[in-house]
Symmetry: C2
Subunit: 277 residues, 2 copies
């Protein structure tokens, strides 16, 4: 059984898609065919979307599921007349929230917190530049500005995590790859020493690491299981010896790794987090 | 008036936070104090969160708003007994969806689509590596693999957009900065020619561009309004001459720019999009 799903918004549709995908993940025995329809903000576009919904209904011989965060009532009314099963997200929540808050909502299109002139937004973009500048240990001159410095062996997930933390949370995250030389030494790498309280380690199952490295350089010493086992063991020993918090990323997504780092390092509650710097 | 808001989940909390922030943006005359509580997956953690909610209720002298996507019923019941106004997101939606789909949900913790072993996830991480490799025109050897190549003058928003498209959508996005030399020539830059159908232009208000560049190199020719006006005008002329689709990013966030690119280039509907390559 295939079921069509539409995410419809007069803005980006990110809210509808995030909530919808999260809900659909609880029906993993059903196959869904998903479409995002963004910026549906006039009658003409609404009618075009209704045609797509009705066509899908006919093809699937089932009612499509429609998650919408449409504000424009004209558009909303047109959608209601489609053959889709409409889940009008904002209407469901805004009424009870208005009652609780004792205040009407200023129901308007868009998400004001995303305006690119705003301070929080600017901080996210600066954080992306920071992550790029301080990726992979190539430059270490701006570690004093870091909110967190991720350390781990090559391909343990440091770079995507830094970029996610920057883009989503405006966190200044640098990363430093642990090499064999680093781990042979008696202490933590010299460049990291002044920033020991900002370090956060990533480890990963050696078998999984070897798979990932094989794709990059197959049959190399770098990718061999032996090498991966050695490196991960040494990294973990280093973290333990110096009380560096760390995380096993083996089955975690960047979203999950980032969430854990925010929690475990206290950054989520504003510790060390710059305010729109 | 300050109102406390809690996002509570036994997973990352991203769904609760996305939906909640989107809803709160419709009450922009009220100030909210927001906290994300992730991985609340046992009785002990639930009780600690309830204590925080009740403390906030006392301090604010108002009921905090609690958005939760908790699956664990034991945890859910403990939250219900708090002084917060509980908005149990999954419960609200899953019942009607189960009826529509004629099938029970396999109500479990987590979002399986985020498992880092899965193909779609792997594609996102590969796309991040691709964006990094092909950033800023430094290397152009892998343009044939691109889903889209963003072109625009320095600081028009190319790099963060490429990274967002990669992380969120698994799109292979390269970017190429237009220099004065490029725009003085008679055609489109030589390295871009074979990929003309993949190009997507970004322009920006020259005044805003000048502001952004001032932060990087203040009082430089590069940041002068005159220079910014010239560059943007030439870029736009180039896009018009060669029929390259383009977007004015002046007041748009990376989320909005990315959504527009996905729509306008047809990438959202799978055109040119690799399937878990």
């Amino acid at each position: 059984m295939i079921r069509s799903v539409f995410y419809i918004s007069d803005s980006t549709g990110i809210t509808a898609e995030t909530l919808g995908q999260s809900l659909l993940s609880h029906f993993d025995h059903i196959q869904f065919k998903q479409q995002v329809c963004s910026y549906i903000d006039n009658e003409e576009k609404a009618i075009a979307v209704v045609n797509r919904i009705n066509k899908a209904a006919e093809e699937d011989d089932e009612r499509p599921i429609v998650f919408d965060t449409v504000i424009n009532r004209e558009v909303g009314d047109i959608l209601e007349a489609s053959q889709g099963f409409i889940i009008d997200i904002f209407s469901m929540f805004l009424k009870p929230m208005e009652e609780l808050l004792g205040s009407p909502s200023n129901y308007h299109v868009g998400r004001p917190q995303l305006d690119n002139q705003d301070k929080r937004y600017k901080n996210r973009i600066d954080a992306v530049q920071y992550a790029l500048h301080n990726d992979d240990g190539a430059k270490v001159d701006r570690y004093s500005e870091a909110d967190v410095i991720l350390v781990g062996v090559s391909r343990s997930g440091k770079t995507p995590t830094c970029l996610y933390l920057a883009l989503q949370n405006g966190i200044y995250a640098a990363n430093y790859p642990l090499t064999e030389d680093d781990m042979d030494g008696p202490g933590i790498p010299r460049v990291l020493k002044p920033f020991q309280n900002k370090l956060f380690g990533l480890i990963i199952d050696p078998g999984r690491l070897s798979e990932i490295r094989q794709e990059r350089r197959s049959n190399s010493r770098y990718a061999s299981l032996n090498q991966c086992e050695d490196e991960v063991r040494q990294a973990q020993a280093l973290f333990n010896r110096f009380g560096i918090p760390y995380l096993d990323t083996t089955r975690m997504s960047v979203e999950e790794i980032s969430t854990r780092i925010l929690m475990d390092s206290g950054l989520r509650n504003g510790k060390g987090k710059r305010n729109g710097k």
